[in-house]
Symmetry: C2
Subunit: 216 residues, 2 copies
């Protein structure tokens, strides 16, 4: 069975680059969606991963089965609204982390919809399923693509299909176990987990606090 | 060095009973604070733990070094306000879980102060340090007092001393590692972790999902 084609918007960015290369290594055709495809293509060439293509946001969305949103949180709404007409993809996976640093303290951005994932839901065509995943694994740990992660990653979504697709992608990454935590509003708890990891990193002078569920 | 005396308000309740017996087993003098001391005394006798005393809320608070709040969340403010004058204790540890079940779905109670722990802070005399702990370990796992828990428990507080006292109590429980996550407002993230555990339990038909930090 051919594997799903995955568009990763912001796929050369801090969060996206590890996900892109790890999913490519797992055999998924990847298209990095970029505001500046020429520059993104140069970055991707450096990776030496032949199965990773590059396209504009709109073309990446139109040509894929799953769209991973790895944009900076601030750019999400604008991008989704601008590319709304391009969605043929059946699923969007929100991996953004709505964290703000005010006078050195990390806090979650207040989001009237409840969470970044629900904000994404409200700016995505209704026919497209939305899930959240890859929010807690540290970006730079993902970026060390040979490194087994040995932790859990939390998935929620607005339908069993959306959660199942997100679970499939998480478990394609070596050393990651996907934990399905239920409906989309659970994303806020996942985002809090990321905030907690940031706090643990700072306080304990480490860099890659992450989580494992015990008892499952 | 004599160990601190610990008052546990609600110490025969769902959350308190495991904490009371485990800390007693670790050598701490424990006073269960109860609205109905006679009934609480009968429960404590059944436990066969001679080092556990029973008193009214006010007497338990007045006679202890640390007060653990293991009351139902709804009773916290009323109790703290009523007993405000009795505080000699230097520290309060909030272990409440502000979860509501609406049409079968668990959600966190909205708290204008930010978290249950910050609500407790605002109803506790300023001279008393406030920490949060024991919010994520499942009550019934704590209640099986011989069972090693093999997980982490998250601690935050409004001063290094408050966090240090909470850490000491958490680590007195066999198989628990305390993770200091910083200032008191982090309690909201810890409360979200509890909500996540409840969601994982339901979805995966298990009973004692809990967490371990990887990378620390």
């Amino acid at each position: 069975m051919p594997r799903r084609t995955i568009a990763i918007l912001g796929g050369t960015g801090r969060q996206g680059r590890g996900i892109a290369r790890r999913l490519a290594a797992a055999g998924f055709p990847i298209v990095v969606g970029s505001r500046d495809p020429a520059r993104a293509a140069a970055t991707v060439r450096e990776w030496g991963a032949d199965s990773i293509g590059v396209a504009s946001y709109g073309d990446a969305i139109a040509g894929s089965d799953v769209v991973i949103l790895a944009l900076p949180f601030d750019a999400v709404v604008e991008t989704l609204d601008a590319e709304r007409g391009r969605f043929g993809a059946a699923f969007v996976i929100d991996v953004t982390v709505p964290v703000a640093f005010t006078s050195g303290n990390a806090t979650l951005v207040h989001i009237p919809e409840g969470s970044a994932a629900e904000l994404v839901r409200s700016h995505t065509p209704p026919s497209v399923g939305v899930a959240a995943a890859f929010k807690t694994v540290p970006a730079h740990a993902l970026d060390e693509v040979e490194r087994p992660l040995e932790c859990d990653e939390f998935v929620c979504g607005d339908s069993p299909d959306a959660r199942s697709v997100a679970t499939e992608l998480v478990e394609a990454v070596r050393g990651l176990r996907a934990i399905d935590v239920g409906p989309l509003p659970r994303a806020r708890s996942i985002e809090h987990l990321t905030l907690l990891a940031i706090g643990i990193n700072r306080r304990h002078k480490i860099h890659d606090a992450r989580f494992r569920v015990v008892g499952l």
